[in-house]
Amino acid sequence: MTALTKPGPESGPLLEIEDLVVEFAGDEETVRAVDGAGYTVAPGETLGVVGESGSGKSVTAMSALGLIRPPGRVVSGRVVFDGSDLRAMRPRELRRLRGGRIAMIFQDPMTALNPVVTVGAQIREALRLHQPGLSRAAARERAAELLALVGVPGAERRLRQYPHEFSGGMRQRAMIAMAIANDPDLLIADEPTTALDVTVQAQVLDLLRLTRRETGAATVLITHDLGVVAELADRVVVMYAGRVVEHGTVAAIFDAPRHPYTRGLLDSLPSLDGDAGELTPIPGSPPLPGEVAQGCAFAPRCPMARDRCLVERPELTQSGPGRASACHFHDEMAEEESDDRA
């Protein structure tokens, strides 16, 4: 379990985001959406990035890939993919990387698929853009293979259809087929199942497991749904107010959280079994971007907050083997765990 978290220097992380700061310029003020966030993704691993709306979980990944448009702007930080500095790359080089070695899956396939081009033509285009040597016939054959692989029945016929002729679940499958068309090393999946019904979500999660086996691609799974992360991810990064507040393996984070926000989030979830009574919410609401003054952004809602939390911003520090927490008092949470066990 712990070996997953810190890749050795020989292997090295596939993606490394460090101290990323992203701002959005508004009419009156500039809002900092990401405030020094970072994480690493090892080759082949699935990293879940969770957080509520406004936590910066999507903006972090999108701006790391150069997909942020004005008024958004990456102010500072380092993004390294397989040894190359993405922030130093020209837009052309970045475009070649995206859709090739780095692929993306979005929440709403209708925004990612072109409504006036057949699904087959879109998959073929994705293939030939990144593999110029591929013949027309080979591209057609590969497109049918891909669609069959992602579980779209009648692939040959489906290739000639337009996205609107697909159901929501089938469109998500088609987008996944496009994403894995060029055998990527890294897949960024932003809320890939959020728009789907739960029985269809189960199918798509299963498909993501299958594609991971087939391609061996590392995956960054961005979602607000803790259940989806628990099912699919190896490691978890928890974000709050533009920063990473905790990270570690799924077992570490879900079974023994060592940041009060993570614990609060897990406690507030309604459940399918056990106590069906009152829920345990986190009091208050998350700060609006730009609202955080000094100190810990979670302090106003935190049951453990003390004077120090209001003045000193906690940095991520090791809170156990292969895990870190940005809480001044994560030792106390670890002690509680051992007390509970005793």
Binding site: T199, S268, P270, L272, S285
Partner: protein
């Protein structure tokens, strides 16, 4: 937890405040240059349920199952194609004008989207006071009533002078609930009331709804796709699929011994976070998509995706009745309770 467990059999069932029988809605499908009707969408097809005073019925299902259409017919935003709606003993299926206005006092709707359902031009005070004004009841202690409602939904009195856009999603949903409660309704129809909210906020609103029910004795028809949220608010649950109720029972019956294959698949598909529940269980994986409601399958509507389906399922529509060894109504020829949430 105890107030929900008041469903003990030794207690007399409270009086029915909302009853629905044979509720049906078919939307015409028109096509061709003359816009002739060529078919109809069977959005809701013969739904029956009964909601007792002060209790919650959870109506769950996936998109297109007809749960929202059912809710809209109950509050008379949509006219049913067939069926009967009875509120507090009175048939309200066809009421209009003054009678419909009177019905609005007893029955109110809370929308899913707290951003779209509140006017940006009105202060919170005016939003909540609007139903009182429409019913001519504002002059009689209106301001005090609004202050009381704000307090009820845990908003500060000072919030009354502000505009809806100044509030977060959770606070806006509280404003929507206060407005719905203004006339002291007997029933609230809540359509996905917490689905747009983040989990930490969702839990706050769920708790407030529970408290309000305890204080006011208002009944809820709670419409949601989220099974775990429904479990925390409902006394009874009805599961819908393609326009019909496929299973109905108490909270524990539905979650601990679901008997319809669709309910079992639905519960089994929910991703779990709790250690032990995450791994080590057989998942029921449904194949394919929900068929079109324009031409629903013959017999049992779920049979095209069901692993238990046999010939009889195509020819004979299974009734929603309590079969031997089940203990609650399930519309399946082969209904059999199974604890799908149990972990090995």
């Amino acid at each position: 937890m105890t107030e929900l467990d008041a469903a003990r059999p030794d207690r007399a069932q409270p009086e029915e405040v909302l009853g629905v029988t044979g509720l049906t809605k078919h939307f015409p499908v028109r096509s061709g240059p003359l816009r002739l009707q060529t078919g109809s969408v069977h959005a809701v097809d013969g739904v029956d349920f009964s909601l007792p005073t002060g209790r919650t019925l959870g109506l769950v299902g996936e998109s297109g199952c007809g749960k929202t259409t059912t809710g809209r017919m109950v509050v008379r935003l949509l006219q049913p194609t067939a069926g009967r709606i009875v509120v507090a003993g009175r048939d309200v299926t066809g009421v209009r004008g003054a009678e419909l206005r009177a019905l609005r006092r007893d029955l109110q709707l809370v929308f899913q989207d707290p951003y779209a359902s509140l006017s940006p031009r009105m202060t919170v005070h005016d939003i909540i006071a609007e139903p009182l004004r429409v019913q001519g009841r504002y002059d009689d202690g209106g301001p005090e009533r609004v202050a009381g409602l704000l307090d009820m939904v845990r908003l500060a009195p000072a919030h009354a002078r502000r505009y809806a856009h100044e509030f977060s999603g959770g606070q806006r949903q509280r404003i929507g609930i206060a407005r719905a409660l203004a006339l002291g309704p007997k029933v609230l129809v809540l359509d996905e009331p917490v689905s747009a909210l983040d989990v930490s906020i969702q839990a706050q609103v769920v708790n407030t709804l529970r408290e309000l029910q305890r204080e006011l004795g208002v009944a809820y028809l709670f419409i949601s796709h989220d099974l775990s949220v429904v479990r925390h608010v409902s006394h009874e649950i009805a599961v819908m699929y393609l326009g019909t109720i496929v299973e109905r029972g108490t909270r524990d019956e539905i979650f601990r011994s679901p008997a319809h294959p669709y309910t079992q698949a639905l519960l089994s598909a929910v991703p779990r976070t709790r250690p032990g529940a995450r791994e080590g269980r057989e998942r029921i994986m449904l194949t394919g998509d929900v068929p079109s409601p324009i031409d629903p399958p013959s017999g049992c509507r779920f049979r095209t995706r069901c692993w238990k389906a046999r010939d009889i399922c195509a020819t004979e529509t299974p009734a929603l009745t309590d079969r031997d060894g089940v203990g609650h109504p399930a519309a399946c020829h082969f209904a059999e309770p199974a604890d799908v949430l149990a972990t090995a």
